[in-house]
Symmetry: C2
Subunit: 369 residues, 2 copies
């Protein structure tokens, strides 16, 4: 059976890099924030190997920005997240779980502080813009909230520093993790952050003018020819090995940050003003009764995980696997799932109900890489 193709229309928005992505032979897309997200160029495994050994350009324009600016911007930002933003400095990025009034996850963006009264929220796959606009209107806050013309392009892989330095200069090497600098490119200043959705290292460049997309792509490709630069995208295998969660896959509005293992990003006591604070204060005291864990699933390569797979201990349902893939490096199936506290200790043996049948699996103490 052939895999269904994606029907592309204006609604599945093109990005400033789509022409280049097409020229580089994109084989699969996902749709993310109503925008094309290239996911496969050669094969998932070949892309994975290349990402871990070389350097790739990723069209992650679908990481749309919500810009919040105005006198009430800082107050509104703190309403969105249980993370204490009092310590966030200009030039810094925070990973910020964002929750509704029940403490349910609405998104897990990176928040960039551009100025005391101006932020970009680099969102995962949900229209967080609508929640923020609704709150701002309902509470009559003095802010502007919008989606600017900003399209991130990621440079990821062990050779990312070398490639970025050739285009943005040596200063790029001094950018610390989750910090950003404004660096020149063809007469513009672009925000370059040391961040990205892999553990292979690299940068995200916030291209704030669509017309710069192709010139920047071309400059990076030209500069990186001898580094073996290729087009890539967030890689299913690598991100599961790295334990990087995916909103909509591993967590939804059903889950609290604590269930997602994001308690370390919640300073619920001091995050005064967070709309989910009351709900999360209770969770913070009692702790969650289920939590995200990495697992290894035995046997041959599992099929794609298109819906939760129930996790069993004997006949008891003790969790659900939400992401899984065969890892060539670890020679096992790597997986992420939500596991009940009765069975979440490292080394616990469970079974996973995959479409190919029941498989033995083991709970791990941490991610694979």
């Amino acid at each position: 059976m052939n895999s269904p193709v994606l029907s592309i229309s204006r609604r599945t928005r093109q990005t400033p890099f789509t022409n280049r992505v097409t020229e580089n032979g994109v084989k699969a897309y996902s749709v993310y924030n109503h925008m094309l997200l290239p996911t496969v160029f050669d094969s998932v495994e070949a892309d994975y190997r290349h990402l871990k050994d070389h350097v790739q350009l990723w069209d992650v324009a679908c990481e749309r920005q919500v810009e919040v600016r105005g006198p009430d911007a800082a107050r509104l930002l703190q309403m969105l997240t249980p993370r204490d933003l009092g310590t966030l400095q200009v030039g810094q990025c925070y990973y910020t779980p964002m929750v509704d009034e029940t403490g349910g996850m609405l998104n897990d963006p990176l928040t960039l502080k551009l100025a005391a009264d101006r932020y970009w929220i680099s969102v995962a796959d949900s229209d967080l813009l609508y929640w923020i606009k609704g709150l701002a209107y309902g509470l009559r806050l003095e802010v502007d909230v919008d989606e600017p013309d900003v399209s991130p392009l990621a440079i990821q892989g062990p050779k990312a520093d070398d490639l970025a330095a050739r285009v943005f200069g040596e200063a790029v090497r001094d950018i610390r993790f989750f910090r950003f600098a404004r660096l020149p490119f063809e007469g513009h200043e672009l925000i370059v952050a040391r961040s990205g959705y892999s553990k292979q290292g690299g940068f995200e460049i916030y291209v704030d003018d669509s017309d710069l997309g192709e010139p920047l792509w071309d400059a990076l490709f030209a500069a990186g020819a001898d580094l073996g630069v290729r087009a890539g995208g967030p890689n299913l295998i690598e991100r599961i090995e790295a334990g990087l969660l995916s909103y909509g896959n591993d967590m939804t509005r059903e889950n609290t940050p604590h269930e997602c293992g994001l308690g370390k990003f919640c300073q619920t006591q001091s995050a005064i003003g967070c709309v989910g604070r009351d709900a999360l204060l209770r969770v913070a005291v009692e702790g969650p009764i289920r939590q995200i864990r990495s697992l290894s699933i035995a046997g041959e390569a599992v099929p794609p995980c298109t819906g939760p797979w129930t996790v069993f201990a004997g006949r008891e349902k003790v969790g659900r696997v939400t992401s899984a893939a065969w890892s060539p490096d670890f020679e096992t199936n790597v997986a992420i799932g939500m596991i009940r506290m009765t069975h979440w200790n490292p080394g616990t043996e469970v079974e996973v109900d995959t479409p190919d049948g029941m498989r033995p699996a083991t709970i791990r103490d941490s991610s694979f890489i």
Copy 2:
């Protein structure tokens, strides 16, 4: 060049009908409200021919419902739309443009009034849930707002009444346009509305329990064998012929309802409480300076419209085409676009800048069907 396939994960949610859709050989999907939307089974043209001659089942589970219930439900609903909901009766559906405080379109759902204090909003492709939750929280309204387990299944085509009557009984024939009834199926009562995203007639069944999805699909297929029932989906050609707008394609937050030709659904004077009322009162008086029009584009079949195509009159930019397809029945390319008032009169000759080059086109007075 091959068309990219869709990477399917839990995030691109499966529906209660996905197994059946797969068994029926789905060839293309779109992603809509973070959910799979089957778009092609045979070919776009073959599906179109069949839809116009027979009857199809459409998995439109991606038309997710936002349920609003509670003492402030009616008040909140009127905040969302410039359509006067004072006349909406229980058992009735209204097409409701929904706007932000600037009058920009956030969604164009169908609103179903289930009871005086309970509504379903059957949403197009944006997380309207987030906007409504934000407003409700910010304004401290007494409502619950959530996405229930409701997955619409559409029966569309000229034989839809016959097919529906075989499963739901003759009472289905008495349902008037944009009205709904509760009809029995296997011991449940399902909401059946005379509605759907085609002009071929038919129903949408609001399946409010995922476990009923396959039994209902199977019952309709079994009952419709001699009617030639097939799996289908919203058809690009037919919906353009019908002038049915698509949120994200033909209109975005940039547009007011009046620009979208939806002024007839705006009773802005009497829609007191609508958050976009102030902005739209001005628009209602002055009128829009550009508006949605149907067009016919000359020449061979156009390629897929994946982004706006600029419309020219001489060297002047006078609009943008946002949807287009070759129509076998009208033997022309049918299209929808936003045209400036200087050139929107029926019969105006313009040119459209397609990826295949400039094409002559004509503004129409109405949709094709």
